[in-house]
Each structure stands twice: as C-alpha cells, then as structure tokens.
C-alpha cells in the first residue's frame, strides 16, 4: 500500500479536474501526479532520508506529501509558528533532511549542518517541469509515510509514526472513490502540519474534490473565499467556527448559498457555538469529527442527521448528543476502560481506547503503545452512552484529584456552560494544601452579560456535589487556544495556580 495509489487512481479517473487551488494558482489531478513524480526524482537525487515541510498551506504541500511517498522518504511537516531555535531542535531529529520552506526561513536556517534547503517556489517550479522518477513507488505497507511531531504538553514533542498502511486504511475506510461532484470544493484552513491538514489532502484526492487552500485563517477572508470559490464543504476547528459565526453577527446580507457541509473537530465545541452555527447555516450539514494524530485522523463522527435529531429533541439525554463526537467509524472499535484496564459500561467515565487498521500508536524511539490485542490508549477521558455515542471529558491527565475523589474538568465545564452568561470556560486542578488539588475555573462571559463569582459557584452547587464547586473562579476576556483549536489547559492551570 502507498498513498500514491490514491493519487494515481484520481489521475486516471478525473485527471483534468482541478485538485488544489491557492489564490490564482492551481493543479489538476494529472498535474499533481506528474509533479509528485518529478518531486520524487528531486528528493531521491538529494540523498536525504527525510523531507521536512516548514511552510503555510501552498501547492507545495500536496506535491511534497505525494512526492515523498513516491520517493519512499518520510514526510515531516513542521509547525511554522515555532521559533528558529525550536525548529533546529526538531531538524536535529530528522537528519539528513531536505527542507522545503519560505525564503525567509531558508535564510534563517541556512547554517544548519547537513541540511539541504529548497525554497518552496523553487521546489514547486522544479516539480512542475522536471522529469518524473523512473521507478515506481514501493508498495511496502510498513514504509513510514508521515512523521508528525505532536504538540507535547510536557517535555520534547513526540514524533508519531504513520505508516502507509495506516494512512491508506483510513482513506479506504472512510472515503468513496470519486464520490465528489465535479463542482464540489472543500475549503481547507487547518494548518498543513496538523493531522487534519494531512488527511484533508488524501481524503479530497480520493473523493475527487477540489481543495481551496486558505493559508492564514481569518473569519472575513474565510467568508469571502467561500463565496468567491463557491465552496461546498469546509472543515474548521471550534474557535474558527465561533469567529465565523461572530463575524456574520446579525448581518442579514451574509449568505453562503454554496456551502452544503461544515465539519468541525480538533477540540471541544461549546454547545452555544454549535447551536448558533446551526441557526446561522440552516441548510448546511454539520459533522463533528474526533480523531488523533496517532489514529491517522478521524475515528468517530457525529453526522448531519445526528445533529438535527439532537437539536430537535426535548429529551435532555438526546439533546446532549450535540456535544458528543458521535459514533466510531466502521472498522474502528472504541472502549472505555478504568484505571485498572477494566472495560466500563454505558455512561461510565474512563479512558478512551481505540483499535483499527488506521491506528498507529507508535512514536520514534518509544515503539508502539498498542497492547497485545491492538488497542491504543488515547489518554483522552470520556464515556459512551447506550447507543454508542462518545462523549469527551478532556485529557485523562487533566483529571482533578481532590481529597482522593476523581473529577473530570469536562463535567464541571458543561454545567457552567449552561449558565446564560457564560460563553466559554476552562476548569483545572490547582495545588491545595488541604485537599491535594482544588477546583479552579477561568470563565469568559458573553458580550453584554454579567455574573458574580458567588453566583456561578452557587450555580454549580445547585447542580453537582459541593466538591465540584470551583474554590477559585476568575473572569477572563478569552481562553488560550492553539491554532488547531485545542485549549491550552496547562496555561490556564499555570495562571490560576499562580493566582491561588
């Protein structure tokens, strides 16, 4: 197996269709296939063992990704928001590498020993004009396709290994070949170093769906691009959706007639945001996707009908499904286990375990974290209801242990979010002399609303055990999120711990 097979099929089936658009420039599937071949020749000639990509979204991203697969060299996307010093530390772990990057970064990293640097435009130019690699790609399913540095919350980032079999299995398990109509277009604004940015390339190629790249997310630019390119599908992280909905505001003139499907994931979606988005885009199909780098992207989906059923229901248990991540994909199994590894029943909170062909669970230098039966411990905490809907409760490491009692931040956050004045909230554990850990909360109020600390403490006390009441509660203008929409809980924790 090799992801190149997906592109080869797309080039055969719809070679003249546009595959990727960036500004005024574009590549058809046949052009992308040809560029992958020439890019592979260039990579082979360099003698490098890794291809590192340090750039915003551009046409060089899909070309580099497929060219690496054709050449049989791991593709290593790097976060362009990192400092030069941080990038140097990562590059030292993937030697010898060919680095494709912007002119500015090329200059800043020119002195890195053993590193071959190719400016992005030169790479793309060569790939579009040179001869393809004569030999075909390897079909060894154990070849490493992508090495992805995960955003480590502590210590050095881990390099997750995604082999060809994981990447191809994910696509074959979730996408039908050429299922997109000729006029379909997906707007991709997640960064290219994120697993969702990588899987978007493969999914769209196999579906035959044109990708419109938006390198720097901005709500106004996103809205404008949807209309200019007649975008039909888009994927956003929760913070982006919140900004899009806010930018539209109550402006009756903003209409997005082409937009049929809006998928989101990458972090917890606050209930008020999704409810508002469904009102703003009444004709769009909403899909919530849950996945991890280590699982080659999506493992569970809350589909359009699930959204509608939940939104229309008066039953609180069904309505709550609007904040669930849905049910596992076919071919993916999910279990909730306790600390001793026992499988828990419906509604019980524990750690999420996942198994399937697309699940890698392997890191460079640490080997595979899969157990003997192939299960991967996600370190995400959650529960599953009787119908198989999965609910996320934060990271297993985020569990607050107060006086020997375990509590998940998610359950307290859910209660606070139900308060009419609360727009967003993060609950964390802070050091406490008496209890070991205490509950603290950072709350963002809705514009034009107000609330007192005691009022919100009372709100929690009425609805939960008193141990759950935040002993410390601060009002913040906004919560810290990374660009992939993930709440930076450790930042909240550090700030609130300092204040206590």
């Amino acid at each position: 197996m090799n992801v190149m097979m997906l592109l080869e099929m797309a080039a055969q089936g719809c070679g003249e269709r546009v595959a990727f658009t960036n500004g005024q420039d574009s590549l058809t599937y046949q052009q992308l296939y040809d560029a992958a071949g020439a890019g592979a020749a260039l990579i082979r000639a360099s003698g490098c063992r890794y291809v590192a990509m340090l750039d915003v979204s551009s046409l060089a991203v899909p070309v580099g990704l497929f060219a690496s697969a054709w050449a049989g060299v791991p593709y290593v996307p790097l976060n362009y928001r990192l400092t030069d010093a941080e990038i140097r530390a990562l590059l030292a772990r993937v030697e010898p590498a060919l680095l494709i990057t912007s002119d500015q970064r090329a200059a800043a990293l020119a002195d890195v020993a053993g590193l071959q640097i190719m400016p992005r435009d030169a790479f793309l130019q060569t790939a579009r004009t040179a001869q393809p690699l004569a030999e075909t790609w390897s079909m060894d399913q154990d070849d490493t396709g992508v090495l992805l540095f995960t955003s480590g919350t502590t210590g050095a980032p881990k390099a997750a290994v995604l082999r060809q079999k994981h990447l191809v299995s994910y696509i074959l398990g979730s996408v039908e070949f050429m299922s997109a109509a000729e006029e379909d277009a997906a707007l991709v604004c997640v960064p290219p170093y994120h697993i969702a940015g990588i899987s978007a390339v493969f999914s769209s190629v196999f579906a035959g769906r044109r990708v419109v790249q938006l390198p720097d997310f901005d709500a106004r630019a996103w809205l404008e691009l949807v209309n200019r390119e007649q975008v039909t599908n888009a994927f956003v992280v929760p913070t982006m959706l919140a900004r899009i909905v806010e930018a539209i505001g109550d402006d009756p003139d903003v209409r997005l007639p082409s937009l049929r499907a809006l998928a989101y994931g990458g972090g917890k979606m606050p209930l008020p945001v999704i409810e508002r988005a469904m009102r703003v885009f009444p004709n769009a199909d909403f899909t919530n996707a849950y996945g991890l780098t280590e699982t080659s992207s999506t493992i569970a989906l809350l589909g359009p009908q699930d959204h509608r059923d939940a939104a229309a229901s008066d039953d609180p248990a069904l309505r709550r499904r609007l904040v669930s991540v849905g049910r596992p994909l076919p071919g993916v199994e999910v279990q909730i286990r306790d600390d001793e590894g026992r499988v828990l029943g419906a509604g019980e909170r524990g750690e999420i375990y996942v198994r399937g062909e697309q699940v890698s669970g392997e890191y460079v230098g640490r080997g595979s974290l899969l157990d003997k039966d192939g299960w991967f411990p996600t370190r995400d905490a959650g529960s599953m209801d009787a119908d198989g809907f999965l609910f996320l409760e934060g990271r297993a490491d985020d569990v607050i242990v107060r006086g020997g009692e375990n509590m998940s931040p998610g359950e307290i956050e859910d209660v606070l979010l139900e308060h009419p004045a609360v727009a967003d909230v993060a609950v964390v554990g802070i050091p406490d002399e008496q209890w070991g850990e205490g509950v603290a909360a950072a709350v963002v109020l809705k514009a034009g609303h107000s609330a007192e600390v005691a009022e919100l403490q009372g709100w929690v006390k009425q609805r939960m055990r008193s141990s759950r009441v935040p002993q410390q509660l601060e009002f913040w203008p906004e919560l810290p999120y990374n660009e992939a929409g993930k709440l930076l809980r450790r930042v909240v924790k550090a700030t609130l711990s300092k204040a206590s």
Partner: protein, 102 residues
C-alpha cells in the same frame, strides 16, 4: 490460487484490470478476472482472451465483494473482465457513504 491478504495487489491475466485486496478471509482463494486466475503485479500476462461469460468489466474505484463476505476487492485500474471468486462473479459493494470529515 493465491494467498490473499489486505494490501495484496493483483492484475488480470487477460485484460487491463488491476486490483487491491481490502479484506480477505485467510487461506488460498481462487480469484479470477475475465475467467483467468489473477497474477502478481510483477508477472507478465501470458496472453489469452476474456471469457465471454466473465466480460462485464470492472470499474475504477469500485469495491467488489462475494455473497459470503470472504473478500473485498478495490479496482485500481479498470478492464473488460469480470471478477470472480471460486467461479462466482463478485458483486458491487453497496456502500453507505460517510459525511466528509476533513
């Protein structure tokens, strides 16, 4: 007869069809295309004609299965022959498309 497992790629001996095995029950299975046993990708076809009884053709990107669910085959290159397992034609797999999630 060939040992079929997920990821195995095969080609037709009598038409342009190429496939990849997506799932297969263990053991040796008699997978044919156009009436002739399928061969490894590296193997050169010895020549021959598509059996008129197995000549409905394969479609690019479509998945084919048998009634018993022993195999699922993805067509990676179309051709004139039909796929068959133990002499019975494979059928197009009915799919329930998932919403796009990325």
């Amino acid at each position: 007869m060939a040992e079929l497992k997920a990821g195995t790629r095969l080609r037709s001996a009598v038409c342009a069809t190429e496939v990849m095995v997506i799932a297969a029950a263990g053991g040796e299975l008699d997978l044919r295309c156009g009436g002739a046993p399928m061969i490894a990708m590296a193997q050169q076809p010895a020549g021959g004609e598509v059996d008129p009884g197995f000549a409905e053709g394969t479609l690019l990107g479509k998945r084919y299965v048998d009634e018993a669910g022993a195999v699922e085959i993805l067509c990676t290159k179309p051709g004139n022959g039909s796929l068959a397992l133990d002499g019975t034609k494979l059928i197009l797999k009915e799919n329930k498309p998932l919403p796009s999630s990325d």
